[in-house]
């Protein structure tokens, strides 16, 4: 089985490196097909592993030593267990589809080969992240996906906004990474190992305050990667990247790494419910917060991005409350329907010649029926309507919140569910139905290549049926993860399901109803709330004014005033003083014999005076 592990892990990087060889040559279809094939190989291997992994059958390899110094020793070790294999399958599946999709999507791009190289490199990093058997390996993947995300967001580097967004993403992630590193350091100095099994075996022996700190630091890392408030702004900006990237990285895989980390480190978080509660609260807050921003946004991709943010909040609620398998389950189903949504959006975007403003679309159903259907499925799934995947996973999370007695959280998530349904269908309605506003811009939409559409069908299928795997999923993952016990009555559970579904349905209904009739009047754009939401609560602005600008100013101040005018000048001052002393002292050397003689006599007289008046006491 180790063979499959290595294949699953290294197939993507082989593809990436080979594609990189062609990076500077013109488009070569081979790179696209080759990398897609290799990712598919990786997917197959993952599936074999999924089949293999069982109660007492996990694959664990130690490839080689990496760093060893002092007491510290980190190997390159990989483990395929119930959690990682789920992630592997999800990642490779979505990746395969995104790769194939990209062959169509990027067909006219001059940097076609480079794109596939980056994309496969990302998959490799993600595989390291999920397969590592220790925190450092996780961190390698963590940073690796960050790098690939930077490369891919800034893929169209000629665009100023793209490279800006790439840098923003990287830097924001680094803030989280620092927190994560601190957590890792703390683990090391308390346990002396980074291996999951060793750490989890010993974590119970630690001082609770230490565990709390470890939990907090690791969560800071998760916040960066999963774009939780207040490190969330980069995710929306990251939509500057090509759409397949948004689908793969910023919806299905990388951003969920934070959730994966919490799930993986569940044995730590289970000891510190306070931190878990905080995580859940923050998650719930983000769920509503992000959904509210999605309500008014006009940018097709940003809406989906906010939706992702909101769903990540849901996952964190589950993870924070200890329902790890549910978090993981939502992570998986979300990966399917959200990437589908994004890829569909990519089709729309192509059809619209790159225009993303949903107010300038409308009535595209006619022109691109398959895409419209796929996106609608995804939206229904997202909204959580039975029997689609979202229903199962999302309702479970609400149930957990209620079960936990955190009614406030439940309330937030409940509202969030309604909002989700509304904005999803606002998007569908504005894009696919209603008046064909795009015609005013002289755009002639066209559907994507058939193979692209075919590539998307597996996702659509999964978005529909994945929910029914709930029980087997539960059984499988709880072999490793701690189970979550529901204490609710069945009737209460049913009530909750009903309420949530009703909420979602009414959201959908309201959206359909409203936008059938031409939507809201333009007036609302002048409302304070609208402005607040459409400006993302002014948070990006705040960051710019309160952090970026002062930092830049301070940096310039440090350079121009402190470094040049104080530190350096004082060094020069010493030199100048000495030199100036020389200039003054040389005046003594007037060259006049009389004064020279006088100096001598003065010397003698002073010394004589000292001889008389100066008496050192031994």
């Amino acid at each position: 089985m180790e063979k499959y592990l290595y294949i699953a892990l290294f197939a993507p990087i082989v593809g990436s490196l080979i594609a990189a060889l062609f990076a500077q040559s013109p488009k070569n279809l081979f790179t696209g097909i080759f990398t897609s094939a290799l990712i598919f190989v990786s997917f197959i291997s993952s599936m074999i592993l999924l089949n293999y992994v069982d109660m007492d059958k996990i694959v664990h390899v130690e490839m080689m030593d990496w760093i060893s110094a002092g007491n510290l020793s980190v190997p390159f070790g990989f483990v395929v267990d119930q959690v990682s294999v789920i992630m592997m399958v999800t990642v490779t599946l979505v990746s395969t589809i995104v790769h194939i999709y990209s062959i169509g999507y990027m067909e006219h791009d001059e940097s076609f080969n480079r794109f596939f190289s980056y994309l496969s490199a990302f998959v490799f990093s993600m595989m390291i992240l999920v397969m590592s058997d220790n925190f450092i390996g996780l961190f390698i993947g963590w940073e690796g996906v960050g790098l690939c995300s930077w490369l891919l967001i800034g893929f169209w580097y000629k665009k100023h906004s793209a490279s800006w967004a790439a840098n923003e993403a990287f830097i924001m992630n680094r803030i989280g990474d620092l927190g994560m590193l601190m957590g890792i350091f703390l683990i090391y100095w308390n346990i002396g190992s980074f291996q999951y099994d060793v750490v989890f075996a010993n974590i119970v022996n630690l001082d609770p305050s230490e565990v709390t700190w470890i939990g907090i630091f690791l969560f800071i890392g998760a916040m960066g990667k999963s774009a939780q408030f207040p490190l969330h702004t980069w995710l929306a900006d990251a939509m500057e990247g090509p759409t397949p990237v948004s689908a793969l990285i910023h919806a299905a895989t990388m951003v969920t790494a934070g959730v994966y980390l919490i799930v993986r480190a569940g044995e730590i978080y289970i000891l510190i419910p306070e931190v878990g509660m905080f995580i859940a609260s923050l998650g719930a807050f983000v769920a509503v917060f992000a959904a509210s921003m999605a309500l008014v946004n006009k940018d097709l991709k940003r809406i989906i991005a906010y939706s992702t943010l909101s769903q990540l909040g849901y996952m964190f609620v589950a993870a924070g409350l200890g329902a790890y398998w549910i978090a993981l389950f939502h992570l998986m189903t979300h990966a399917f329907f959200k990437s589908l949504l994004f890829l569909g959006a990519g089709n729309v975007m192509h059809a619209m010649d790159g225009n993303l403003d949903i107010k300038r679309m409308g009535g595209l159903y006619k022109a691109m029926r398959p895409t419209a259907i796929l996106m609608s499925i995804a939206s229904v799934a997202l909204a959580g309507i039975y029997p689609l995947a979202g229903f199962f996973s999302k309702d479970k999370i609400l149930e957990v919140a209620f079960n936990n007695g955190s009614y406030l959280l439940w309330g937030a998530l409940f509202v969030g569910a309604g909002l989700t349904a509304f904005y999803s269908f606002r998007l569908v309605m504005l894009v696919f139905f209603g008046e064909k506003i795009y015609e005013k811009d002289g755009i002639h939409p066209h559907e994507a290549h058939p193979f692209v559409i075919y590539a998307l069908t597996p996702l659509a299928l999964l978005a529909i049926v994945a929910g029914f795997f709930e029980h087997s999923f539960h059984e499988f993952t709880t072999q490793l993860l701690s189970d979550y016990e529901f204490t609710l009555d069945h009737s209460v559970g049913a009530m909750l399901i009903f309420a949530t579904s009703a909420m979602a349905l009414s959201g959908i209904a309201y959206a359909v109803y409203k936008y059938k009739r031409g939507g809201f009047s333009e007036n609302i754009e002048n409302w304070g709330v609208y402005k607040l939401l459409s400006n993302q609560y002014y948070i990006p602005k705040l960051y710019e004014v309160a952090i970026m600008k002062p930092f830049t100013a301070l940096s310039r101040f440090a350079w121009l005033n402190i470094d040049n005018k104080i530190v350096d000048a004082s060094v020069d001052l010493i030199a100048k003083t000495i030199y100036g002393g020389g200039e003054k002292a040389r005046k003594m050397q007037s060259g006049n014999l009389s004064s020279m003689l006088r100096w001598m006599v003065v010397g003698i007289v002073v010394l004589l005076a000292l001889a008389i008046f100066y008496r050192p006491t031994v």
Binding site: G591, M596, W599, M600, G603, I604, L607, Y614
Partner: protein
């Protein structure tokens, strides 16, 4: 009142006078040769001078007698022997500089060589006696010869330099005799060791008078050693005299002065005259620092070297202040190593001597003259660079080892602050030596004509420079034997 004097010839220990006798005889014979035949080549005189010097050196090296001789006025102890060796070797290395490529009037005259030998004899007397009269005579003989030799360079500046030097020297002579008078009045003796004994029995009372005598001696020796504020002659005299002589002046008269200072001051400090220790401390620091900071702003290499030699003197004077065997050995080690670097540096200047002041109206060797030398004459530039780094105390060149040893002596004897001041001063000193290097290596040349830089060159000068470079560069292996010899001599004479 007068006793009949019975002189036992053996007790006179005439051989103790042999080295001086040889140099004096040499001087007289050169004058005689000149009287008999005219128009002899300067090379003859030069070689003769060297021969006499070597003979004298042989006499010094072969000396195995009592340390006292000639009515006990001559004191040939270890220090005297060693200093004579240093003086003679240095002289032998500097005399050949007369054989430059260009003609200079003074070197054509036999008197120059005679005076040179007289001067050597004067210094030899000065260092090998503890009788104040003999020291005075030696000092004056040497100084008067030196004044004359400076003036023989026959440039307006040389005359000015000679007059300045002379006048100040006369004043310093006054100080010297005044000091002698005071000590004589206090103790009734003019021999340093007797003075010491009497002062000790009197417990240095009256202290004011003792200190007054010390002050005048400080003035007199301070003049010779160019201690601040008796240093003012140094830059002008160096500038005015020929480079060859200036180089010589920065080495030999000073070592003679150091020996006298050691004999006198260490006696006083060793007996617990704290006043002198403190004053000397101040003088040392002042001299070092002053020499260095003024050297920073000089525009002429020779003047810069003059000020730097003030600083070096101050540095070495600290050995007298510290006063241990180690320090005194350090003094000689430093001076020997310094001599070679200095010999090289001044010879290099001597090589570039040109008839006219091509680069600057005022100066013979302005820094700008050496601009971009690396491009015109890379070897010369590198060699000059070696000397500059050596003088700056850059390892592994010669002066560094002296510096190391002296600073170590300071540290070992509790003069940590002094050691730090010395260290900081050597950091300051690096700047002006480096200034020349910056000009030579980092700037663009003024003129590509090599000949104007080497108008005074000759094989002899090249050989001298070669010796200097060699010694300066590989001094690390010389330190061990040198130090052994020096320490041996120094311990022998009880310092």
């Amino acid at each position: 009142m007068l006793e009949p004097i019975n002189i036992d010839l053996a007790a006179l220990n005439i051989t103790s006078l042999l080295p001086m006798a040889i140099t004096i005889f040499g001087a007289l014979s050169i004058i005689c040769i000149d009287l008999m035949t005219k128009n002899l080549s300067k090379s003859l005189y030069t070689v003769l001078t060297i021969l006499f010097i070597l003979l004298s050196l042989g006499a010094v090296l072969g000396y195995h007698g009592d340390s006292r001789g000639f009515f006990d006025v001559v004191l040939v102890d270890g220090i005297a022997l060693m200093t004579q060796i240093i003086i003679l070797v240095t002289s032998a290395l500097f005399v050949p500089l007369a054989l430059g490529g260009r003609r200079f009037q003074e070197f054509a005259m036999a008197e120059f060589y005679a005076l040179f030998l007289f001067m050597i004899a004067g210094f030899q007397f000065m260092v090998s006696s503890d009788n104040l009269i003999l020291i005075f005579i030696g000092l004056e003989t040497a100084s008067l010869s030196l004044y004359t030799m400076i003036a023989m360079h026959n440039r307006a500046k040389a005359h000015e330099a000679a007059i300045k030097y002379f006048t100040m020297g006369a004043l310093a002579a006054g100080f010297f005799v005044m000091s002698s008078l005071i000590f004589y009045a206090l103790t009734g003796s003019i021999e340093i060791h007797q003075i010491a004994e009497v002062l000790q029995t009197k417990n240095f009372e009256p202290l004011v008078a003792v200190l007054a005598g010390t002050v005048f001696m400080l003035g007199a020796l301070g003049f010779k050693l160019s201690m601040v504020p008796f240093h003012t002659w140094t830059p002008d005299v160096y500038e005015g005299s020929s480079s060859a002589l200036a180089g010589y002046m920065s080495v030999v008269p000073k070592i003679a002065g150091f020996v006298v200072a050691m004999r006198l001051f260490e006696m006083l400090i060793g007996s617990g005259v704290v006043w002198l220790e403190n004053i000397l401390y101040i003088c040392v620091v002042l001299t070092m620092t002053f020499g260095n900071i003024v050297a920073l702003v000089q525009e002429d290499v020779k003047r810069m070297l003059a000020f730097s030699s003030i600083a070096h003197a101050g540095f070495v004077m600290s050995a007298v202040l510290i006063g241990t065997t180690e320090a005194n050995s350090g003094l000689f080690l430093y001076w020997v190593l310094f001599m070679f670097a200095n010999l090289g540096a001044f010879t290099m200047l001597w090589v570039t001597r040109h008839r006219k002041n091509l680069w600057d109206e005022r100066y013979q060797h302005p820094f700008s003259k050496f601009s971009g030398m690396i491009k015109i004459m890379p070897v010369n530039a590198v060699i000059m660079g070696v000397f500059m780094f050596a003088l700056a105390g850059m390892p592994p060149f010669s002066v560094f080892w002296g510096k190391l040893y002296l600073m170590s002596a300071a540290v070992n004897n509790g003069f940590i602050v002094l050691a730090i001041i010395m260290a900081l001063n050597s950091a300051m000193a690096v700047y002006y030596y480096m200034k020349l290097i910056v000009y030579m290596f980092l700037k663009e040349p003024v003129s590509n004509d090599e000949s104007i830089y080497t108008s005074n060159t000759s094989t002899t000068l090249k050989v001298i420079i070669g010796i200097a470079v060699l010694v300066t560069s590989i001094s690390v292996v010389m330190v061990e034997p040198l130090l052994k010899m020096i320490t041996n001599y120094v311990t022998l004479s009880g310092f």
